[in-house]
């Protein structure tokens, strides 16, 4: 493992610790510390990925180690943007550990470089991968906002309030943030799927080849499309939207990892260990 990778993990880990202490003590400086540590980690991570790209001459998404690291990086980036825009401080308590977790697993996996086939340097492919990852990062955060929503809703409905009531923001803010995440995530996912189709056409001569990952991506896309449709036409919000966001992310996780381990297909090698 490169030393810089270790530095990245340490920053993410410290950020996680900062956020967890913030959860208990509720001091604002802890949350700020967590945020800046994460931002620093993200910058180092960017440098690390850039270095990998230049070094190997191919986009760093060729094995599970690299894709997990890329997932961590995009999640961190999307989280930082979201935090900047909505100021949903408590979301860091979810995002920082999630990113750290992905990175720790990535660190445990061997980083064996594949033979360069220049397959990964196609413009459409890079756009496809980046768009999908950003979209999935946003949807991961939507899942976080959904979880927090359910916790807070339970605190209010059950009238027992308890640990989370004070610590979590209003239902409105959680719902709103979750919605913004889903809109962003869905847009990027759509864009990613389209570029993926174009790429498939250019390489295999057809847009769609019923590869399991393609199928599951389609299912994921339909799921979120349904959620957005319900929200826009019937005002599906709150609890139902939160649950859907969580289910949606579970499907994404399956599409991202499960499909590769359980089913076969041409996406397989990118997440091979």
């Amino acid at each position: 493992m490169e030393p810089i990778f270790l530095v990245v993990i340490i920053f993410y880990l410290l950020s996680t610790i900062g956020y967890l202490i913030y959860l208990f003590l509720q001091k604002d400086f802890l949350q700020k510390t967590g945020f800046y540590l994460l931002a620093t980690g993200f910058l180092c991570h960017t440098v690390e990925l850039g270095y990998q790209f230049v070094q190997s001459g191919q986009f760093p998404a060729s094995n599970l180690h690299e894709t997990l690291s890329l997932a961590g990086w995009t999640t961190a980036g999307v989280f930082l943007l979201l935090q900047y825009k909505f100021g949903l401080k408590i979301l860091g308590v979810y995002a920082a550990p999630l990113i750290t977790f992905a990175m720790l697993i990535a660190a445990r996996l061997p980083d064996v470089s594949r033979e360069t086939r220049n397959l990964l340097n196609n413009f459409w492919l890079i756009t496809h991968v980046v768009a999908i990852f950003i979209g999935e990062a946003a949807l991961a955060l939507a899942c976080g906002a959904g979880l927090l929503y359910l916790l807070q809703e339970h605190a209010i409905k059950s009238k027992h309030r308890g640990f989370f009531f004070k610590r979590l923001p209003s239902l409105e803010l959680l719902d709103h943030t979750g919605y913004a995440c889903i809109v962003t995530g869905f847009t990027m996912l759509t864009f990613g799927l389209i570029t993926g189709l174009i790429y498939a056409k250019s390489v295999w001569g057809r847009f769609w080849s019923w590869d399991p990952k393609e199928v599951w991506s389609g299912i994921t896309w339909l799921l979120y499309a349904a959620l957005l449709h319900q929200r826009l036409t019937f005002g599906w919000r709150g609890r139902r939207a939160a649950i859907m966001a969580i289910i949606g992310f579970a499907v994404i996780l399956f599409t991202f990892l499960g499909v590769n381990f359980l089913l076969k297909g041409h996406h397989g090698e990118f997440t091979r260990m």
Partner: protein, 425 residues
């Protein structure tokens, strides 16, 4: 050494005196200024301030002869309020020194209040102090003490959660609403019925920039009057169902024996509302709002017991936080005592001498270090000259301070000396 001045406080509060007695002794603003002037006439009283709220009457003094002053104040209050001393004597507490200081700090920090953490008391003390400064009955000691008091009270408020949580039903309801809606801006409120608590809740919401207010009352005229009060709009009782489509917060307080809003009312309109959240605050007994509504998604119902439960919990939290407040007060009492003790003459004279000598020594060393050609005799001569200068400069101030016991107010001179020479740093 001159005679010692003591800080003495006497008073009574909600814990020592029943409300009937507190009413009899409550002192109005005009009476306060008369009282302050009268107290100042007493030969044994140097400084004095007085504050009176519905929960307490307190006289804070700097005196020379505690017993005499306390008796004089009692007599004066008795005369002012036409109440024999024996009627209120047993309810009085008398503190001096550290205890008096601690009491003032605790009162201002709202640790001694009936509702711990209530914020008004600090303002009331500030007003009383302002009164004392304009009547010119406060001096060095009270000025210092009160400034410390304001500082301590602010610290307790910011560093503990003593004032954090709502301890009244209507505030608790508003706090809950904040956890649902985030902000009340543009949120529409429907008041069903009338009643003090319900109206108070509406007022809180308006203060938090809630949007339109609708008022529904069985007697339409009453509704119109209430609506005028809130600059809202009155609707008829049978229009409630329709109004549910547009409002966000419903506060209900009617005498109706049955539910005014039922589960089916709300279920039917959810779609038309685009599932926007609805928050019901039910202050009525028997209840107005069907509790089953709480099970519908995006609808929240809190009845009076739920709200009372929150209030009780919050009071408990405040009492826990108050322990931290007591620690801050204890620290402040110690630091005030240090300042107070520094007002004794001797330490000030010693510190003053030390400071001037150090300056002289430092400058002498610097000069001698730079000028190398002096003989040892020259150096001795310069040393002697410096010493003589220090002594001559310090002679008059020292004499003045030593004789200050005969002066009007020793502490003024000491305080000025300490400030002029920055002896407290």
């Amino acid at each position: 050494m001159g005679s010692k001045w003591d800080i003495v406080l006497l008073g009574l509060n909600h814990k020592t005196a029943p409300v009937a007695l507190r009413e009899c002794l409550a002192i109005s603003k005009d009476e306060t200024s008369i009282a302050l002037k009268a107290f100042q006439e007493l030969p044994s009283v140097r400084e004095v301030m007085l504050f009176s709220t519905c929960n307490r009457v307190e006289v804070l003094m700097v005196v020379q002869d505690k017993m005499n002053s306390v008796d004089a104040v009692k007599l004066f209050l008795s005369g002012l309020k036409h109440l024999p001393v024996s009627e209120f004597e047993r309810s009085l507490y008398i503190y001096e020194g550290d205890d008096a200081v601690r009491h003032v700090f605790r009162v201002a920090a709202s640790l001694d209040s009936m509702v711990v953490g209530e914020p008004q008391i600090l303002g009331q003390i500030k007003e009383a102090y302002h009164m004392a400064t304009t009547t010119k009955t406060s001096g060095v000691l009270l000025n210092k003490l009160l400034h410390r008091t304001f500082f301590v009270a602010k610290r307790v408020r910011t560093e503990t959660g003593i004032g954090d949580n709502a301890v009244s039903i209507s505030y608790a309801a508003v706090e809950l609403g904040r956890k649902i809606f985030g902000t009340f801006e543009g949120k529409k409120v429907l008041l069903i019925g009338a009643g003090e608590m319900a109206e108070l809740a509406v007022e809180h919401l308006i203060r938090n920039r809630a949007g339109d207010i609708l008022v529904a009352n069985r007697t339409f005229e009453t509704g119109v009057d209430l609506a005028m009060k809130f600059k809202g709009q009155a609707i008829r009782f049978d229009e409630i169902e329709d109004a549910l489509k547009q409002v966000d917060i419903i506060i209900s307080s009617t005498g109706s024996p049955d539910y005014v809003v039922t589960r089916n009312h709300v279920k039917g309109i959810a779609r038309q509302r685009h599932n926007r959240p609805l928050f019901f605050i039910d202050i009525a007994v028997p209840r107005d709002i069907d509790p089953e509504i709480n099970r519908l998604s995006n609808s929240y119902v809190y009845d009076i017991d739920d709200l009372q439960g929150i209030v009780d919990e919050n009071v408990e939290d405040r009492n826990k936080e108050a322990i931290k407040g007591e620690r801050i007060v204890d620290e402040a009492v110690i630091s005030f005592r240090h300042w107070y003790e520094s007002l004794e003459v001797i330490p000030t004279i010693v510190e003053l001498r030390k400071k001037v000598e150090e300056i002289a020594k430092g400058e002498l060393e610097k000069t001698l270090h730079a000028v190398k050609h002096l003989s040892s005799d020259d150096i001795k001569a310069i040393n002697r000259m410096t010493e003589a200068m220090v002594n001559k400069i310090l002679h008059d101030p020292t004499m003045l301070l030593k004789n200050s016991g005969q002066l009007q107010d020793k502490s003024v001179y000491l305080d000025v000396t300490r400030k002029l020479f920055k002896l407290d740093e």
